[in-house]
C-alpha cells in the first residue's frame, strides 16, 4: 500500500466521526414548544391551489413558529402505496377517498383524530355528510380541508341566461338546451383529458346519471361492487352519456378525449360559441377562461336536474380528505388549526374551494355562495363513486370512459370489460 493512502486514511476517519457528532447535536428540543419544528404535508394541489393552501397555513406558522413543508403531487396514490409499504410517510397527507381512508385506518397507519380536534366544535360546525365520510369504525380519521359540489352545469350568460328558469328535469334540460342554443354549435362542452387520470370527468357524468336514474342506494351498492356494471340500472346511464352527451358535444368524442378538462369550457366563451353547457364541479371557476371572466355576470350555473322524481335532491360531492400518519405535536396542532372556521375562511375567500365547515362564510361571490348552500342543504349526499372504488376499479373506470368517449369501444364492450375488472378488483 502506498504511503499517501496510509496517511490519508486516519485523517478521513476523524472527519467522519466529527461529522457524526454534529448531526447528533442538532436533535434536541421541548415537546410543547413547536418553534422550529416542521410538518411534512403531501397533497394533490399545485399552482393556485398550492398558493392558497400555503396562505391558509401562514397564520399558524406565524403563531407557533413551526414550518409547513408542502409537497404537491399528481400521483398521491403512488406516494401513499409505496409510503405505507416502506414506512416513509408524511405527517399529514391528502387521501384519494374514503376507501383508502378506511384501508389505512384498518392497517393502523392513520392516527385517530378524536383527541386531536376540538371534537364538539368540529361536529357542530361540519356538514354531517362530510363528517361521516371521514370516519372509520366510529372514529374520526380524516377531515375535509376543502370540498366541492360535483355535477353543476355551467353556462355563459351571454348566450342564454338560465337564471330565471333553470331546467328542472333532464328532458326539460335537453329541450331548453336545444331551443336556447343560439349561435352555439353544440350543446355540451366536453373534455376528459387529465394526464395519468384521463377519463375522470366522464366518470363524474356517469355518477350523476346513475345517482338520478337509480338512486343513492344503487349508487352505493355500485361503488361497493355489489351491482354489476352490465346491470340495466348502470347501463342506462352509460347509454344516456353516449347519446345525450357525447353525441351532442362540441367537436365530438375525438375532441373530448384530446381536450383537458380545465380547458373544456373555453369554446363556451369563444365567438361564436362552440358549446353551451359544461358539466363540472364547483372548482372549475379557478380554471382557464372561468378565471378571466366574472362569476355571476359572465357565467353562472344551475344544479344538475332531477331525472327520476323519486330520487330528487341527491347531490354528489368530493373533497380533499386529509389524514394524519404521524402524531407529532406540531402535526396535531396543524390538524386542529386547519378545520377551524378561521383557517377555512382564508381559502374560501381566495375562491375555488367550498368548506366543509358551515361557519366559514367568506365566499367571494354569489356563485360560490350558492354552491356552498347546495353542499350544506343536500337532501342526500354521496361521495364521488369512482374515488370510493378500489384503485384498480377506479383506474379501469377512467380508461373505459376514455375509450367510450373516443368511440373506440361500444357501451357493451366497456361494460363487460368493467365487469371483468370488478371481479378482479374487489377480491383481495
Amino acid at each position: 500500500m502506498s504511503l499517501w493512502l496510509r496517511r490519508l486514511a486516519p485523517l478521513a476517519v476523524v472527519v467522519v466521526v466529527a461529522a457524526g457528532c454534529v448531526s447528533t447535536n442538532s436533535s434536541s428540543g421541548d415537546d410543547s414548544d413547536l418553534h422550529g419544528k416542521t410538518v411534512n404535508v403531501i397533497g394533490t394541489w399545485g399552482g393556485d391551489e398550492q398558493t392558497a393552501f400555503l396562505k391558509m397555513v401562514e397564520p399558524w406558522e406565524k403563531q407557533t413558529g413551526a414550518k409547513v413543508k408542502y409537497t404537491g403531487t399528481r400521483d398521491i396514490n403512488t406516494v401513499l402505496t409505496t409510503g405505507v409499504a416502506s414506512g416513509v410517510l408524511p405527517d399529514l397527507a391528502g387521501l384519494p377517498g374514503p376507501g383508502q381512508l378506511a384501508e389505512y385506518a384498518k392497517a393502523g397507519k392513520l392516527k385517530p383524530l378524536d383527541n386531536v380536534l376540538d371534537i364538539k366544535t368540529y361536529q357542530s360546525e361540519t356538514a354531517p355528510a362530510l363528517a361521516q365520510l371521514g370516519k372509520s369504525d366510529g372514529k374520526v380519521y380524516g377531515v375535509f380541508i376543502k370540498a366541492a359540489v360535483k355535477g353543476l352545469i355551467w353556462y355563459n350568460t351571454k348566450v342564454h341566461d338560465y337564471g330565471a328558469n333553470p331546467p328542472k328535469t333532464w328532458t326539460d334540460l335537453m329541450s331548453q338546451a336545444s331551443a336556447n342554443q343560439g349561435a352555439a354549435k353544440d350543446v355540451w362542452c366536453l373534455g376528459v383529458e387529465s394526464g395519468a387520470s384521463s377519463g375522470w370527468p366522464g366518470t363524474d357524468w356517469i355518477e350523476d346519471l346513475v345517482l338520478r336514474t337509480a338512486g343513492p342506494q344503487v349508487y352505493t351498492n355500485w361503488y361497493e361492487g355489489k351491482v354489476k356494471w352490465t346491470d340495466p340500472a348502470i347501463k342506462k346511464a352509460f347509454q344516456m352519456y353516449v347519446t345525450d352527451v357525447v353525441g351532442k358535444s362540441y367537436g365530438g368524442g375525438k375532441n373530448a378525449v384530446a381536450t383537458n378538462f380545465g380547458n373544456a369550457g373555453d369554446p363556451m366563451f369563444a365567438n361564436p360559441p362552440g358549446c353551451e353547457l359544461l358539466h363540472q364541479a364547483s372548482f372549475i371557476t379557478t380554471f382557464s377562461q372561468f378565471k378571466s371572466h366574472t362569476a355571476g355576470t359572465d357565467y353562472n350555473f344551475f344544479p344538475f336536474p332531477d331525472i327520476d322524481p323519486q330520487y330528487a335532491g341527491a347531490v354528489e360531492g368530493a373533497g380533499d380528505l386529509f389524514g394524519m400518519f404521524h402524531d407529532t405535536p406540531a402535526a396535531k396542532s396543524l390538524m386542529k388549526y386547519l378545520v377551524t372556521a378561521d383557517a377555512q375562511d382564508i381559502w374560501v375567500k381566495i375562491g375555488g374551494a367550498l368548506s366543509a365547515n358551515e361557519d366559514a362564510i367568506d365566499y367571494p361571490d354569489e356563485v360560490s355562495k350558492q354552491s356552498a348552500a347546495i353542499l350544506a342543504h343536500a337532501k342526500s349526499f354521496v361521495f364521488d363513486a369512482s374515488d370510493s372504488m378500489p384503485t384498480a376499479m377506479n383506474d379501469a373506470f377512467w380508461s373505459a370512459m376514455v375509450a367510450l368517449t373516443n368511440g373506440s369501444k361500444t357501451v357493451d364492450q366497456v361494460l363487460s370489460d368493467l365487469d371483468r375488472a370488478q371481479k378482479d378488483a374487489y377480491t383481495s
Binding site: 500500500m1 478521513a12 476517519v13 396514490n77 409499504a85 384521463s198 384530446a258 383506474d395 375509450a403 373506440s408
Partner: protein, 327 residues
C-alpha cells in the same frame, strides 16, 4: 448544520474512506500469508466489495421479486398463489395488448433507429458539414423523455375539424386538405403506438448514428480504395465491404435498442398512460405496483420482462467477448 449537508459529507468522505480502509486491511491480511495463498486469496478480496454490492442490490432483489411473483396481492400478509399471477398476465386482454405493443416497439423502434442511423452515418460520412449534421441529429437524445413527451404533445395536438389547428402535424396536413387526425387518440391499427414510436425514433436515431459512424471511421480507407480500383461500384463497396465490417457494431447497437424498446415506459406514461391501445409492459408493471398496490402481479410482470431481456443480454455479452478476443 443542516442534516442534509452532514449526510452529504458523510457520504462523500465516508464511502472512499471505508473502501480505502478495506483495501488497507485486506492487504495487511494478505501480507501475513505465504506466496501461494496470496495468489489465491488476493483477487477474491479485491472482488469482494463489488460482489457484495452486486449481490445486495441486484441478486437479492431479483430473487425476492421472483418469490414475490408467486404470492398474492396483500403486501402485509402475502399468501402463496403459485403461478396465478403469470396466468393472469397471459389470459388478460390488456396485458397481452401491452405485450403485443412491446413487440411492435421491438420491431419498428429497433428497425428504424438502426436503419436510419446507418443511413445517416453513411450519407454524411464524406460531406463537409458532417459534424453539424450529426450534432443536430444527435441533439434530441439530450432531452429528457418527459420533456420530449411535452414537445410532441404540441406536435400531435388535435382540434375539431373546422377550427384552427394548433398542432403542427394537423396544421401541415390541413394545408393539403387532410385530417385532422387524433394522432395520440387513435387505437385503430395501433396508430397512437406508432406515433409514440416515432418520437422515440426521433430521439434515439442520433445515438445509433454516432456509434455506427465511429465504426465507419474505423474501416481502413485503403480497403475501400482497393475495391474501387478493382472497379466496384459504390453500392457494391457498401454492400460487400462496409456492411460486413460494420456487422458487429450493428449487432451491438441493435441489441441495445431492443433492450431500450422493452424498457419503454416514461414516454408512454406521459403521453397516453396506456390509453388508446398504447400500453406497454413496463407501464403495466408500474400501474399494478404503485397504483393498484398489487405487488404479486407487478413482480410477475417484472420477471416476465427480465426473462425476455436475458437472452438478448446474453447474446450481447457473447458478442462483446468474441469482439475482444478478435482484437
Amino acid at each position: 448544520m443542516d442534516t442534509r449537508l452532514v449526510t452529504a459529507i458523510e457520504v462523500v468522505v465516508g464511502v472512499p474512506v471505508v473502501l480505502i480502509g478495506y483495501i488497507w486491511a485486506s492487504e495487511r491480511l494478505v501480507a501475513l500469508l505465504n506466496a501461494r495463498w496470496r495468489r489465491v486469496i488476493r483477487p477474491w478480496l479485491w472482488l469482494a466489495p463489488a460482489l457484495a454490492f452486486l449481490g445486495f442490490f441486484l441478486i437479492y432483489p431479483t430473487v425476492l421479486t421472483a418469490i414475490r411473483s408467486l404470492q398474492s396481492k396483500d403486501s402485509l400478509n402475502p399468501k402463496f398463489v403459485g403461478l396465478a399471477n403469470y396466468k393472469w398476465f397471459f389470459t388478460n386482454g390488456d396485458a397481452l395488448g401491452a405485450l403485443f405493443n412491446n413487440v411492435l416497439w421491438l420491431v419498428f423502434f429497433t428497425g428504424f433507429t438502426v436503419g436510419m442511423g446507418l443511413l445517416v452515418a453513411v450519407l454524411v460520412d464524406r460531406v463537409r458539414f458532417e459534424a453539424w449534421a450529426k450534432s443536430i441529429i444527435f441533439l434530441p437524445l439530450a432531452i429528457s423523455m418527459v420533456a420530449a413527451g411535452v414537445i410532441w404533445k404540441f406536435m400531435y395536438d388535435y382540434r375539431p375539424a373546422g377550427s384552427a389547428q394548433t398542432g403542427t402535424l394537423n396544421a401541415l396536413i390541413g394545408n393539403v386538405g387532410l385530417g385532422p387526425i387524433g394522432w395520440l387518440q387513435s387505437p385503430g391499427f395501433r396508430l397512437s403506438t406508432f406515433a409514440i414510436i416515432a418520437i422515440m425514433v426521433w430521439m434515439w436515431t442520433g445515438f445509433a448514428m454516432v456509434i455506427i459512424s465511429a465504426a465507419l471511421k474505423g474501416i481502413d480507407a485503403e480497403l475501400l480504395e482497393a475495391a474501387r480500383m478493382d472497379g466496384a461500384s459504390e453500392w457494391q463497396v457498401f454492400r460487400r465491404i462496409t456492411l460486413p465490417l460494420l456487422g458487429p457494431t450493428l449487432t451491438v447497437v441493435s441489441t441495445t435498442m431492443i433492450i431500450t424498446s422493452l424498457k419503454t415506459f416514461d414516454i408512454v406514461y406521459t403521453l397516453t398512460n396506456g390509453n388508446y391501445n398504447t400500453d406497454v409492459v413496463a407501464n403495466l408493471m408500474i400501474k399494478e405496483m404503485f397504483t393498484f398496490g398489487d405487488f404479486g402481479r407487478a413482480s410477475a410482470v417484472a420477471v416476465i420482462l427480465l426473462l425476455a431481456i436475458l437472452p438478448i443480454m446474453g447474446f450481447n455479452i457473447r458478442k462483446f467477448r468474441s469482439q475482444e478476443s478478435m482484437s
